[in-house]
Structure formats: C-alpha cells, structure tokens
C-alpha cells in the first residue's frame, strides 16, 4: 500500500466533503467537566510516586552486548557468505542452507533479546509499582538499539515475532523518554501499557523452548 505515496496527490488535502465527513468520526460531545473533576481533585491530594531502579543496569547491559554479537552473526549469514554459513552451522547444528542458518541464528538472537527485555520489563514494572528513582536510560537505549536491529534484519519474517518486537520497541521508547522529557510518559502509564498488551506473557511464550525448534544433534 505504501507505493501509493508516490502518487502526485499524496500530499494534497482530501476532498473537502471527505474532510467534513471525517470530522464526524468519533465526534466528541461536550466534555463532562464537572463529572471528571472530582476524581482528579481527589488524586491531587495523594502524595506523588517516584521510581527507583537497581537491577536494570546489571541485567540489561550484558544482555544487549550478547544480542548485538548474535545479531551481527545473523546479518553475516543472511548475506549468504559461505564462510559465515559454515561457522553458524557449527554453532547451531546441521542445517541445509544459508537461509535456514540465518533464520536459526536470528531466532536465537531474538530469543536472547526477548529474555533480556522480559527481565528488564519485569524489573521496571516491579520498581514502578513500588517507588524509586530515575530509570537507567543507558540500558534502555541498548535494548532499543538491539530491538531496532532485530526489526531491521532481513531475517525478520515471522509476523508474530515482528508484532511482539514492535510492542517491545514502543514501551522501550516510552521508558527512554522518562528522564529526558521530564514526565512525558508516566511510569505507571508504561506499566499500564505492559499490562494492556500482555507483553510479559507474550515474551515468556516466545522464549519458551519448543521441541520442534531445538537444533538437531542436541540431546
């Protein structure tokens, strides 16, 4: 569908009639100001929360480093380099061609990354629900870079995995904004997001080893 963007009228406004009809999409009624205010006022009387992080740096940084290495292997084999293919076969088991090897290496890297992300999010959630200090953005950004590399990989074909990685990226971006943007995204907004997409459960399901995916030759 994106090829439509090359049409000459792609940047021109829509027909005024369509704009008028679009304005009726989810057309807002007057805001119920008086009904909404009491809950806001009550919340203002409660003390604010802060976030404290302790284990995030310890966990995320080494994981990100491992992931970057694994991803590099994945790209290497995805390019069809015969030497790289041979090395990867030794590492992961007997597979038929470079595409399969690339897929296996990619899957291993993705699993490793998702394990890191899962640990990171679990720590974040726990800290956010208790109280704490400012987030460790260095590790957040390491994970973001790794996530982006995985999404950009030519081996990223599994739509379910892509969807999961996109959700991971969205939440990492929100977390990364916490210290840099004041409170553009509140930590509890992020934990709400975690819950809304059931991210931790999906990550655990994704990284759970399946017998079919286990490399041959491994007992």
């Amino acid at each position: 569908m994106d090829d439509l963007d090359t049409r000459p009228d792609a940047d021109s406004p829509l027909d005024p009639e369509l704009v008028r009809l679009a304005a009726e999409y989810h057309e807002p009624p007057p805001p119920p100001r008086d009904e909404m205010w009491p809950r806001i006022a009550a919340a203002r009387r409660r003390p604010p929360r802060t976030i404290e992080f302790r284990r995030i740096v310890r966990v995320a940084l080494p994981m990100a480093a491992v992931l970057a290495l694994a991803f590099a292997m994945g790209r290497w084999s995805a390019d069809g380099d015969s030497a790289a293919t041979g090395s990867a076969i030794v590492a992961v088991g007997p597979v038929g061609d470079s595409a399969e090897t690339s897929s296996l290496v990619y899957r291993a890297a993705a699993t490793r990354h998702l394990q890191s992300a899962g640990t990171y999010f679990a720590d974040f959630r726990e800290a956010a629900l208790r109280h704490g200090a400012s987030p460790a953005t260095g590790s957040t950004r390491e994970l973001l870079v790794s996530n982006r590399l995985l999404l950009s990989s030519p081996a990223a074909e599994d739509p379910q995995l892509r969807n999961l990685l996109e959700d991971v990226e969205l939440l990492l971006v929100q977390i990364a904004q916490l210290p840099a943007e004041g409170v553009r995204a509140d930590p509890s907004l992020i934990t709400d997001g975690l819950d809304a997409v059931d991210l931790l459960t999906r990550i655990r399901a994704e990284v759970r080893p399946s017998p079919a995916a286990r490399p041959q030759g491994v007992i």
Partner: protein, 158 residues
Amino acid sequence: MYDAHVDRVWRLVYRIVGDADQAADCVQETFIRAFSRLASFRGESSLATWIGSIAITTALNAVRSLKRRGARVVSIDDAPEPGAEPRNSDPDLKQRLHAAIDALPKGYRTVFLMHDVEGYTHEEIGAALSIASGTSKAQLSRARARLRSVLGAFAPES
C-alpha cells in the same frame, strides 16, 4: 490548568477512543498524571503539547486494551473496495469513510485525526507523539493515500 486544557484534551482523546466512558477515564488519568508531574515539566514544549502527549499515550493504551479484548477490531479486509462507487452517489459514504479510518494503522489514524480533523500542526503532532515532524507528514500522506484508495472516486483530481 484543567479549565484551560480539558476541552482540547477531551476532543483529542475522544477522537482516538470513540467512547465517552473510556474518554472520560483517559482524560482523568491524563490530568492526574499531569498534576502529579507538573513540578518536573521543563518547559521544553508548551504545556498544551506536554499534556497532549500524556493524553495520547493514555488514549492509545486504552485503545490497545480495548483491541485486546476484541471490542474494537477492524480489519483492512473489512474496509470497502477501492473505487466502488461514483462521487456523491453513495448514501453510505460516511460509514465507508469511518470504516476506512478505523482500518488505518494506529499511527496513520492518530496523525490523520490530529492533523486533518483536529487541526494540529505537524510540529505539535511530532512533539506529542515523540516523532519527527517529517514522520508526521509522511504518515499523513500515507493515511490520505489509503483513504483515497479505499474511497476511490472521492480523491481530489488535482
């Protein structure tokens, strides 16, 4: 702050979630978070933009939650066929257009609603969504292109 911004926040959130109860919840959450974090607001953007970014995050989280519960899922396959009807002859045009907006990817739909419906600038959208204004423009172009594709004969002829 509430009096000054609640109308704009309400309109934006309602456009995104499309439900009065959900919108009210989101607006309340938005202002609760804004008040609790007001001391850390650094003035790098306008207060309206800052509140808007909180509102959008809250609203998109609500939509994701609704989507997971299957309450508001519209597939692109459910959108009407491109160019199916001639201009101004379809009494269901509004319904078709709204279905097409529903079928837009979340990012495209948000930018389209903010820009073409609510009148936000690309700079405001970029600040609120934490994207570059160029990205906002690109997403708007793609949203319009998809809507034109679905509604065929209603695309401007220029």
